[in-house]
Subunit: 703 residues, 2 copies
Amino acid sequence: MNVTALDALMRPESVAIVGASTDSTKIGYTVVKNIIDGGYKGKIYPINPKANEVLGLKAYPSLLDVPGKIDAAVVTVPAKLVLSVVEEAGKKGVKGLIIISSGFGEVGNKDLEAQLVAKAKEYGVRIMGPNIVGTLSNAEKLNASFAPILPLVGKGALVSQSGALLIALDMATFTRKVGLEKLISIGNMSDVDFADLVEWLDKDDATSCISLYIEGFKDGRKFMEVAKKAIKPVIALKAGVSAHGAAAAASHTGSLAGAAKVYGAAFQQAGVVQATDLNNLFDLSLALSLQPPMLGDNLVIITNGGGVGVLATDAAEKFNLPLKFVPKDVQEELKKYMPEFGSAKNPVDLTGMAGYDWYHDSVKIAFSHKWTEGLVVLYCETAMTNPMEIAQGIKKAIDESGVKNKPVIVSFVGGEKSEKAMQWLVENEIPSYSAPDLAVHAISALREYARMKEIVSEPEDKLNNIDKLAALKVIRTAREDGRDALTEIEAKQVFAAYGLPTTITKLAKSEDEASALAQEIGFPIVMKIVSPEILHKSDAGGVKVNIKDDVSCRDAYRTILKNAKEYNANAHIHGVAIQEMAPWGTEVILGSINDATFGPTMMFGLGGIFVEVLKDVTFRVAPVSKKSALRMIEEIRGAPILAGVRGEEPRDRDVLAETISRYAHMIVDLQEEVSESDANPVLVYQEGRGLKVVDARIILKKK
Amino acid sequence: MNVTALDALMRPESVAIVGASTDSTKIGYTVVKNIIDGGYKGKIYPINPKANEVLGLKAYPSLLDVPGKIDAAVVTVPAKLVLSVVEEAGKKGVKGLIIISSGFGEVGNKDLEAQLVAKAKEYGVRIMGPNIVGTLSNAEKLNASFAPILPLVGKGALVSQSGALLIALDMATFTRKVGLEKLISIGNMSDVDFADLVEWLDKDDATSCISLYIEGFKDGRKFMEVAKKAIKPVIALKAGVSAHGAAAAASHTGSLAGAAKVYGAAFQQAGVVQATDLNNLFDLSLALSLQPPMLGDNLVIITNGGGVGVLATDAAEKFNLPLKFVPKDVQEELKKYMPEFGSAKNPVDLTGMAGYDWYHDSVKIAFSHKWTEGLVVLYCETAMTNPMEIAQGIKKAIDESGVKNKPVIVSFVGGEKSEKAMQWLVENEIPSYSAPDLAVHAISALREYARMKEIVSEPEDKLNNIDKLAALKVIRTAREDGRDALTEIEAKQVFAAYGLPTTITKLAKSEDEASALAQEIGFPIVMKIVSPEILHKSDAGGVKVNIKDDVSCRDAYRTILKNAKEYNANAHIHGVAIQEMAPWGTEVILGSINDATFGPTMMFGLGGIFVEVLKDVTFRVAPVSKKSALRMIEEIRGAPILAGVRGEEPRDRDVLAETISRYAHMIVDLQEEVSESDANPVLVYQEGRGLKVVDARIILKKK
């Protein structure tokens, strides 16, 4: 990425407006006016071949006629003229274009859009848009957009894929009293995309937190890579989580996928905090732009009223940060600042009598104590106490504590005085909310952010005993055979090449071969038809289990072949697979899909009713570290089954996690070849006894 | 309930303040001042033995000295003086007391509180409190409280069990711009409780919706009965849902219960809408106080921006009201009011170009159409359109449609202009919210309200073939035996008396009896130890299944007795139960707990891992109608198992529902005797083939 060009685009020393107009009904007029009104200090060059002046500024016939250098140009001319503007911009040495003009990809005009990008690349020009509102920056006092005003000053940046929403949210910063440093409309993302902006904003001194309104990525992996490395918190509101159901793939694993779940997994893996809705996006942006992450689960809640204390306690459990009692020594100290009927346990209830002093002293004690890892201070407005004094008491205590690495969040419930006090707190960098559960939700996001960052920073596993060439050889054979589906034996060979423990499975092409292989593997055995045309082997009468002797083996061989021919007279029959019969274990499923946005994606779940009835499956964009795989095993609803229930011994989760990690490595390694796959069932045994992949399926990408 | 006295208490023509003070630091001063400042039109009598005048009003030494009648008296004197005030009030004929004074049950002083109530009953005086903030009514312009001001005028009433929260929410009505008709502090509920207030407010012309902040009920069933009958919507925010885990009962069924789940079930059964948090309580109160219930699932969303449309679509799915495309004829009509690139499907996207006309015309068409059962109108503020005009267009269209029985909810995202437009809409009785998901959440509550009311209005089932006397006889025998636990045979006899299909189970007291009973029942049979001291029969080696002939039966008899004696040498052994061996079916569990708040409560879930690992169980306060039981069967996560999965036939849900209903009837009928019980497992067969209770347990109440 050309950071220099994006720098110039985002922090230009001079801006041209191509399509600048003297007609106040035109966007080309509005943009010039907005740049002037915003207070931009750089040079402004209106470009208009027919006017000498626009809004009091000298106008130029073209970019090439401008005497000085131009860092960025806003383009508002009709779509059909934009390509020539790009050409001119390139020749002039303009670094970046903010193309407001619409009429490109969004109305099916993809070729023209591609031409813009190609032309811009030729000259090293970066493009924002097309089809955008523009970009707004308080730091630059630059409103290069047709949104009416720079947002209320704040510390976070918001990038929006919806232009209409961006304009509305711009105005909403004033009524919500939550400011923004930057508002960026991303539009068609023909060139600059979410990943580019996250990378750039992460280095922008004026921005402390990056919020994204996302309808969809063009390249999910590029985004993940950048977000993983970001130093600043990234928050995403993903819209359209319900619409994707229809696009579910045809295969068994695919139909369980659900794009929303994969997006959720990707955000988690990249350390991106997910907002639940529009208000929450604002709420979290406030918290994450002002406060550090919460590094442990020890949350203290201080309140002056039982009611809000109880509601906050409920919320803490709901948001995965259940309260614990504070240590006795803290309780003893806190008891000094409350009447007899107060409570020092947690929530710490100072009672309605609490004023400046009690708030100040108890906040200072709680926040300074090493046990505390995060603090929520609640206040329920009373007629006897003054919200602003309470706010000042809280702020003073935090400052005096000298503690910088823990978050504090406040909620005041009350009227105008409380609102003003909260406003003051926000100005003093303490996020404040109008309801206790919002404060708890915000601090839980700071906790979740820290948890995710811990996973993101884990080093990747080194996997040995991987034979990619062997796997590719199996795949090539199938391709040469004109097949897109591997047989079970082939799929197991591929799995085995990546170190997945599979049941011994060999191909018998005759009754005698079957008999010999059975002897070699050892009874009891399982026998299955091997035919690329017969995928549902059981339905075809092509599976016999628990075969205990040679006579039964020979008998089964003949029966399976006969059944298969009756089932599908045209099927190519490779023979019969002779497999060791794995002892029974806990059934799990591993699988992969090729997600449209994120590519190779790993699925894991318990088998049987868990997957079929409860859809109890979890996803990760591959690769998946072993630690991440352990988290997958822990986060399904059926997790207790693997941990051991009803006195049963725990299953071998360690080997299972390694197997998931190896599987995920495999689907990344073979992503050019494999479309989807599964290992179903996989039987998992007691701790120390590993697992066995009993059946396997790999579908190749069509070439 | 004495409605007349409560009427006088809530709408008094005259109010006395016992403890009225001239000292502005006293609550007795504040209350008098608040009543005057609120603009109360009735007579005000300060009671103070030491003052002639309080705040310009003539003061009287005691209630008995007041010349005219007194409807209500506010009491602010110290706790120890309150009893004599009650006595005086009774003598004076005061109808109701608002006892602000604290120092009663909440600090353990329960006797004094009980004395107040007893004394008040003597005279027919109703008590609000003690330990309350007071009551505030805009209709009466009466602020009989120490909360500083009457709330912003609105249509809903709020009853709060937290006084501190009540004061804070009072002030918050002005900043939130959501008014309230009444604010009532309920405190210790020594006399007037939630049920009384719901009943009274339901008949109060000034109130259109009843909101409750609840920490706990004293009598859950009384509340349910009243709420079921309420004509007006009742909304509950239950606090303390996380704290109850610790109180879980010791038994298997009990430990699954969780008071929060039972509260949730009770609210549903009583048609009470549950708020998720404090803001949601305000949001839902606004919607339910202004709009009718939504009678079907056909929701139409009209928007001017894709972004908010997508967010609303996601929210609709989240809140159980997924969008469907509107019928073709509506689409054709709507297409007239949008550009080519708009969408008439649903969400209806008028695009950013939509102004007054398009909004007006499309809202009118959509709202008037018979298919539509609810409408959400979204607007994303643009620089080109005027929020107030859009609001007026929406309002005019709704009025012109003449439709009264469908709800409409609005959300504007934007700045100050949007806020003002929404304020105007609320004043015109159209609820409006600052984010699209809030609007969808609100309309989903109107839908849920209608769904619940439909269930509540179902007539109760008539159950025949019930022999309560037979059940009581079995219980009496056990009691006479000095036992609190019935044996399996006894429990099955009780179940059978209520028409539950149980496996035939008879008691053999000798090997020969066992042999004879086995012949009578028919092989194969199951044999189990019967001893009040051996509850875990399998652990004691006391169970033998699939016994196919006489020899095995005799053998089993001896083995079981031997094992039992080894297991517990002191156990009283009644003999061995000989049972028919039920064919295998789908395992479910029925059970009952005696909930501290709601009494006999029914539990249902699938057996095995569903109950043990997934805690996939659902509750209903008994009795449970058959239709309600069918909903229990449908709402567990494992519901597809009973509906038939993997090509299996559906289970006999009809008989299962009747069995649940009979079970629930039984636990109500025997509530004086039965503490907890379960039928586990119950085996459910294919449709038309019924079910069998295979094992049974009943624990009696200690007497």
